[in-house]
Amino acid sequence: MISFHEVHKNYSIFDRDVHALRGVTTDIARGDLTFILGVSGSGKSTLLHLAGALDRPTAGRVEFDGRDLTTLDPIERAHLRRKRIGFVFQSGNLLPQLTALDNVLIARIPSGISSSDRQRARDLLKRVGLEDRIHHRPRQLSGGEAQRVAFARAFLGQPEVVLADEPTGELDTESGQQLMTMLGELRAEEGTTVVIVTHDLSLPGPGHRILSLSDGKILSDERIGENGPTPSPKIATARPLSSEEFQT
């Protein structure tokens, strides 16, 4: 679905270069639930942004369904994001001036909102348990509710992949758990590929993959089966370990 080939990402602030990603090669398979772990600054968000065509790598290739994202122009990337990708960020996902329903429909505003869009938006809000919050504005919602609206929005266009960057980062443990449970259900119903950046290892349920990053590189890659951990390191990377990686 999404594959990274020797992806590097540098940011330059003033005259200093920050190497956010240093040669990441991996594959995110269709239908997978992938967690990305790592300490602050390890490059998790950067990886997610590249996967979602929100940014371009400094070197290497990111392919989305076989298409090299680096060859797409900004308009093509915007269209890709609108039609095939859903984003959820840590907080501030919603436009404060719009109701929950309108926030879910945001991607459709420029092209025109159809009644089936509207129906689907109501449907999704219902499925995330917010049927009585449809016309509330973000400041009338709790943090957990706001994140649920954000997920409803991410799923609106039946995207192939939903990318979430620490969606529970600002929630208490219980709301976080509820959100993850809800996400699990949505994912199962919609059959969507989901990638979640998180600090919280207590969240992952069975049947998923954990990719951990350190200093811009993949530190480990484990697949957890239905019956507990089945370590399958590096399988998905389909490439021999470099000596550098071996040391870390």
């Binding site: 915007a78 609108r82 001036q97 505003i109 420029p110």
Partner: protein, 391 residues
């Protein structure tokens, strides 16, 4: 309703105070623009109305800017009459009395100034264009050939200025004139005149019998009244056949007036640019402020698949809406204010035709677009990553 447009409206409504302020700014700009332009139109109409009815030719001594100081001789009349194309010639002697009703007339402003025009009643009456006075007699009558001495026909304005009615006397210098007729043309040019027999003015100014200030003449072909090119040609022919005279055509007078009007228009145009720029700056400021507050929001929109063009459109919709709504407000307030001013103070008759209102709306939209261009460009160029990382 278009979704982008609705969101733009929502965004303006969310920031009510600020939107209201820039709406006011726009309104003030539009009021100024409408005010200035309708003032110009009013002035133009006033002048056109005043000039429009001068149809004949006026013969003066070469180089005289005004008939008052022009000196001609009665024997010119027959020479003028012989020129082909000239139908009728009427001599006039002009006088500008400085003391009226024992007051220095200029002292009370231009309204109190009276031009005393001595005419030959029989000849003036046979001028087609004398109709302007004959037709506008409101009280009494115009001069008749048998009128002699100090009898006068004057405008209603002069009568009002000096609080006179028909039958009263008006004192010019030491001479008292009996008012036998009052006319009202409603033209600033004609309503400054007072008519009396030509001999009377000659006597007052101690002039020789044959003295004439100006001849008023009319073409044989009435079509020339409406064809300024042909009238100009006739004027040139007369000037060519008689030395030492200038022949004024209404076109010339109009030209002078339109020259002044052009100057005024240029001046107004320059002044009009100021409120335009002011309005655009007000909108620019508003839009830049809201752009800075909404950086993250724009990042979210881009993450959701909005293109730069969508963002550009949204911001331009907002600024254009500000412009148009401000324009409407300005037009509303402007029309009310004009009514009020006209009613209570001035009698300027400001003219506000529909095209001006439409133009004002168009300009308002342009101001909005102009003021929104830069913020829209900035917003559309925003890097989504940086936008999302900003809090």
């Amino acid at each position: 309703m278009n979704g982008l447009f609705r969101l733009a409206l929502t965004n303006l409504l969310v920031r009510k105070g600020r939107s209201a302020l820039s709406l006011m700014g726009m309104a003030v700009a539009v009021i100024l623009i409408i005010g200035l332009i309708s003032f110009s139109i009013g002035l133009r109409a006033l002048i056109a109305h005043s000039m429009g009815e001068i149809q004949g030719l006026q013969v003066v001594r070469k180089g005289s800017p005004d008939p008052i100081i022009s000196t001609l001789d009665q024997n010119l009349e027959s020479r003028l009459n012989q020129i082909p194309g000239v139908r009728f010639v009427a001599p006039e002697v002009w006088h500008l009395p400085l003391v009226i009703e024992n007051r220095f007339s200029y002292q009370d402003g231009v309204d109190s100034v009276v031009t005393l025009i001595g005419v030959d009643p029989a000849k003036t009456r046979s001028l087609q264009t004398a109709g302007i006075y004959l037709d506008h007699i409101q009280e009494g009558r115009f001069l008749e050939p048998q009128d002699v001495g100090r009898v006068a026909v004057l405008s209603k304005k002069i009568a009002e200025t000096y609080k006179k009615s028909l039958g009263d006397s008006l004192l010019l210098g030491n001479e008292s004139y009996q008012i036998i007729g009052i006319y009202h043309t409603d033209s600033v040019v004609f309503d400054r005149a007072m008519f009396t027999p030509i001999e009377t003015v000659r006597a007052v100014r101690s002039l020789a019998d044959g003295f004439v200030s100006t001849f008023f003449l009319e073409p044989t072909d009435p079509e020339l009244f409406s064809d300024s090119a042909k009238l100009d040609a006739l004027a040139q022919r007369i000037e060519a056949s008689i030395p030492d005279i200038d022949v004024r055509t209404p076109g010339e007078v109009n030209q002078q007036a339109s020259f002044v009007l052009q100057k005024i228009d240029t001046f107004l145009l320059i002044i009009t640019i100021l409120p335009l720029v002011g309005g655009a700056l007000a909108i620019l400021n508003t839009m830049l402020m809201s752009f800075q507050e909404r950086v993250r929001e724009i990042g979210i929109l881009k993450a959701c698949g909005w293109t730069s063009r969508d963002i550009l459109q949204l911001v331009l919709y907002e600024s254009t809406l500000l412009g148009v709504l401000g324009g409407l407000l300005g037009i509303g307030i402007g029309l009310l204010a004009a009514e009020a001013l006209d009613h209570f103070f001035l009698n300027l008759d400001p003219v506000t035709p529909a095209w001006l209102l439409i133009t004002a709306m168009g300009l308002s939209a342009c101001i909005g677009i102009l003021g929104g261009l830069y913020p829209a460009y900035r917003a559309s160029r925003l890097d989504p990553i940086e936008a999302i990382q900003s809090s």
